[in-house]
């Protein structure tokens, strides 16, 4: 080891389990999140594998129907609530926001640790329900199935999600306050890295939306336990009201899942084309626009539910409107590459993958926002394909890209370049093979959440299962080499990519207090022309 690497940093200041479990250092908490998130992703992924295994053949021959229903419910719950939503904010957001704005920590470090504990407790609670039989309601918990018919583990799962919801609220709150009050001198709003803008927009959704799902799930649990009947038609309740309350959160929640990934992409694209981002203001503003508009479209999940046709019209047009800020982002990223100095390192491969797959997945969202068309494709595999394109092809690509980009900063080590490129390609190919056939399946009419299906759908399902196996391998490769690199990887320089941004001005890995002295910011972000000494003066 060189002298350099033995320098004191946040990883080696203190050792022992206790120093991790009681830490309030945002960087260590990020690592805790990384562990939790990977764990829940693996569980969700294994369940996905079992789903695909069952769907290899038309009859329901591998599992019982009951088991199959629990598989996709658990898959959805784990992936959405315990992987996607806490994922990028918990890991990259925690690690980077204070570094990027030149702060020593987030505004409420102890609260930050509490968030992690709530997340883990919530996740384990939900897992407990799975181990003991499990829920079979689908991740959407539609009433009256969840409140009157399914089993009592609904209550436990709802409580688990409720707890994790508080974690999400507190994380959002922490980030909002941090960005408002902790910016270093000179770090004005318009000098903030776009990653922080994205996380800010995410925070807005988290604090405004999450409480509504919390109360809704609480009512579902209460209804199940005490026979209240708020959503039970036999007692005068309206199941569609549940859907309103559920989607008031859960639609904005899909932007909780995509905005952080978009935020990562904005950073990657500039860093690997060594060029200021094209249309900084438009990208920043479109994040906020997405956050606000996202609250006005929830009814597009209810076009055939018996919602009023006029409400449907309004939800439809606004759903189309949310597409515009997303389009603005895509075009600005593309324009950033133009006349850049583009280097194809792994993070950029992921970023380009994101742009392509998100564009495609997003455009298929427009199919669903069109009233007449959604009637046919609603609750078919078309929907499944749409959201996996965005969440797996989009968010996970963004997350992996970001993880590769900042890995040298996080761990102080370099990952193996060759393997990382291989895995990026494996994931890309496996992904498309898994989910593209599902669009066709969906339009042909295969309903989702089907344990058994008519034989004419088999060919496409076999393709999908084949793709999923490739995809699974693609995900295991990075898992292995990241762990490998922590021990055997080459030491990383402070700024291995030659990127701008305060996080690259401090050692890799950073010291506990992040910066030796509080940085003072004097210029715009992504100023590659004059990067280095002049614009970002440390001291």
């Amino acid at each position: 080891m060189t002298n350099e690497s033995r320098r004191e940093n946040y990883l080696n200041v203190r050792y022992g389990v206790k120093s991790w479990l009681l830490t309030t250092d945002h960087k260590r908490i990020a690592i805790l999140y990384l562990i939790g998130v990977t764990f829940f992703f693996a569980i969700g992924g294994i369940f996905a594998g079992l789903i695909r295994l069952e769907l290899l053949t038309p009859p329901g021959d591998v599992f019982q129907s009951e088991t199959y229903n629990k598989l996709f419910t658990t898959h959805g719950v784990m992936m959405i609530f315990f992987f996607m939503i806490p994922g990028i904010p918990g890991v990259l957001g925690n690690f980077l926001i204070p570094l990027m704005i030149g702060a020593k920590d987030v505004a409420f470090p102890r609260l930050n640790l509490l968030s992690w504990y709530l997340y883990i407790i919530g996740g384990l609670t939900a897992l407990w329900a799975v181990v003991h039989g499990g829920v079979d309601t689908g991740w959407t918990f539609y009433t009256p199935y969840s409140t009157v018919y399914s089993n009592d583990w609904v209550v436990v799962t709802a409580v688990g999600i409720f707890i994790a919801g508080f974690s999400s609220i507190l994380t959002g709150l922490n980030f909002l306050v941090t960005i408002h009050t902790m910016r270093a001198p000179g770090m004005t709003w318009m000098r903030m890295p776009l990653f922080c803008w994205g996380m800010y927009a995410t925070g807005i959704i988290q604090i405004l939306g999450t409480p509504v799902i919390a109360i809704t799930l609480l009512l579902v649990a209460a209804e199940r336990l005490f026979y209240l009947g708020i959503f039970n038609p036999a007692q005068g309740g309206d199941p569609v009201l549940f859907q309103h309350l559920f989607w008031f959160y859960s639609h904005p929640a899909v932007y909780i899942m995509i905005l952080p990934a978009m935020a990562v992409i904005s950073e990657l694209v500039t860093a690997f084309s060594r060029k200021p981002i094209f249309g900084y203001k438009f990208i920043a503003a479109s994040s906020i626009a997405i956050a606000v508009l996202s609250f006005l479209v929830w009814g597009h999940h209810m076009f055939v539910s018996g919602q009023s046709v006029y409400a449907g019209l309004v939800f439809s047009i606004i759903s189309f409107m949310v597409a515009i800020p997303s389009a603005i982002k895509v075009f600005n990223w593309t324009a950033t590459l133009y006349r850049g100095s583009v280097s194809y390192q792994t993070p950029l491969l992921y970023a380009l993958g994101f742009i392509g797959l998100f564009t495609f997945g997003g455009l298929t969202g427009l199919f669903l926002a069109a009233l007449g068309l959604d009637i046919h494709v609603h609750d078919t595999y078309f929907i499944v394909a749409h959201f996996h394109y965005i969440m797996v092809g989009g968010t996970i690509m963004g997350y992996l890209g970001g993880l590769h980009f900042w890995w040298p900063k996080i761990s102080g080590k370099l990952y193996p370049e060759l393997w990382s490129r291989v895995s990026a390609w494996v994931i890309f190919i496996g992904f498309n093979l898994t989910f593209f056939p599902q669009f066709i399946l969906g339009y042909l009419g295969m309903p989702r959440r089907y344990h058994a299906y008519p034989p004419e759908f088999q060919v496409l399902n076999v393709m999908s299962t084949a793709g999923a196996s490739i995809l699974g391998v693609g995900y295991v490769i990075p898992l292995v080499y990241f762990i490998w690199s922590m021990r055997y990887g080459k030491d990383a320089a402070d700024n291995p990519w030659g990127a701008t941004g305060l996080e690259w001005q401090t050692p890799s890995p950073p010291p506990t207090e992040n910066f030796p002295t509080t940085p003072v910011v004097t210029g715009k972000p992504y100023d590659y022309l004059t990067a280095g000494e002049k614009e970002v003066a440390v001291g």
């Binding site: 009951e66 079979d136 380009l352 009637i375 609603h378 066709i440 042909l444």
Partner: protein, 328 residues
């Protein structure tokens, strides 16, 4: 391998056209973005490790262009999608009435002439069909891919919807809303028949009593007739000729009596009080099964139509309820 399910209803083609348009837009933008990204990445590949790109020339014009073009496209999609949707929502006047009850995990279908089916529906080609659907337990969804037709059946209220098959054949019926363990077994077949075959089918099998007469039985069973008996001094209004009539409510509103109104009058009578009557009718929520409600309604409807309407091609055609206001 087919990419489309069969087009077997009047609006299947409309939906497919919209779908094709969306595919074209999607293909265009996906290819555009993919091509640009790949071309830029190759063309502006970093040549020296310390190379730095030139300055960025922001362009307000470009931003406007790539905001306005997608905006225009989505507006087209919106109007197109909505017009298809409105076509699907508006039933024609001469529809054949079919009553559907969803139940974990089967579809029970009642024809007005008394024919009952399970997970199967026989209908004549070229005849608009109007479904009045109810669920006994959880939410189900009546989905016929070949017709591009789907409608959730939410317990606690009716779902009414229609379609018109255009091609004889046998088509999938799926339950599209997750409804519990055997959701994927809640499937069946739709048989679209030529009028001649349909007549044969109708005359085969012994239909039980008609829906309306089953409803009439329930009417006395639940003692509705004690108040709605048409005798002088009855406590409730007469129900003869009620269906499709304009009703004046106590609070001054008027509305047209349709299935949903009659249903509400039975399960939540306090919601809309008929002018001139006291709010004394008890609620029957939870006391009458969904099938029973459908029968009662068929009975009340039969009080309005010509008495000899049963049987024949289109038993008891229902008047198209008029639209109250000139909404779009």
């Amino acid at each position: 391998m087919p990419f489309f399910p069969e087009q077997a209803s009047t609006f299947a083609r409309n939906v497919d056209h919209l779908y094709l348009f969306m595919i074209v837009v999607t293909a265009f933008f996906s290819l555009l973005i993919a091509t640009l990204v790949v071309v830029f990445a190759i063309k502006f590949h970093r040549k020296a490790p310390d190379e730095i790109a030139g300055p960025v020339h922001e362009s307000g014009l470009l931003e406007i262009v790539w905001t306005v073009i997608p905006l225009g496209l989505v507006l087209i999609m919106f109007f197109w999608g909505s017009s298809v949707y409105f076509r699907i929502t508006r039933p024609p006047a001469n529809a054949l009435d079919i009553y559907v009850t969803g139940k974990q995990w089967m579809w029970k279908i009642q024809h007005t002439d008394g024919h009952r089916e399970m997970n199967e529906l026989h209908i004549p080609v070229g005849q608009p069909v109007r479904l009045t659907m109810a669920s006994e337990d959880v939410i189900h969804s009546f989905f016929i891919p070949a017709f591009r037709f789907k409608r959730d059946v939410v317990p606690g209220r009716f779902a009414t919807a229609w379609f018109e098959p255009t091609k004889p054949g046998k088509y999938h019926l799926f339950c599209a809303e997750y409804c519990g363990t055997r959701h994927s077994n809640m499937i069946g077949w739709i048989y679209v028949m030529t009028p001649a075959d349909y007549q044969v089918w109708l005359s085969g099998g012994a239909p039980g009593e008609t829906l309306a007469s089953a409803g009439a039985k329930r009417f006395t069973e639940h003692a509705c007739n004690t108040c709605h008996g048409d005798q002088p001094g009855a406590r409730g209004p007469s129900l003869a000729g009620l269906f499709g009539k304009e009703i004046h409510l106590q609070n001054g509103q008027t509305l047209i009596a349709d299935e949903a109104y009659i249903r509400e009058s039975i399960v939540n009578p306090q919601a809309k009080i008929v002018a001139g009557y006291p709010p004394i009718m008890p609620t029957f929520q939870g006391l009458i099964s969904e099938e029973g409600l459908l029968q009662l309604i068929a009975y009340i409807k039969s009080l309005s139509s010509a008495p000899a309407a049963a049987g024949g091609m289109a038993p008891a055609p229902t008047p198209a309820p008029e639209r109250k206001s000139s909404m779009p």
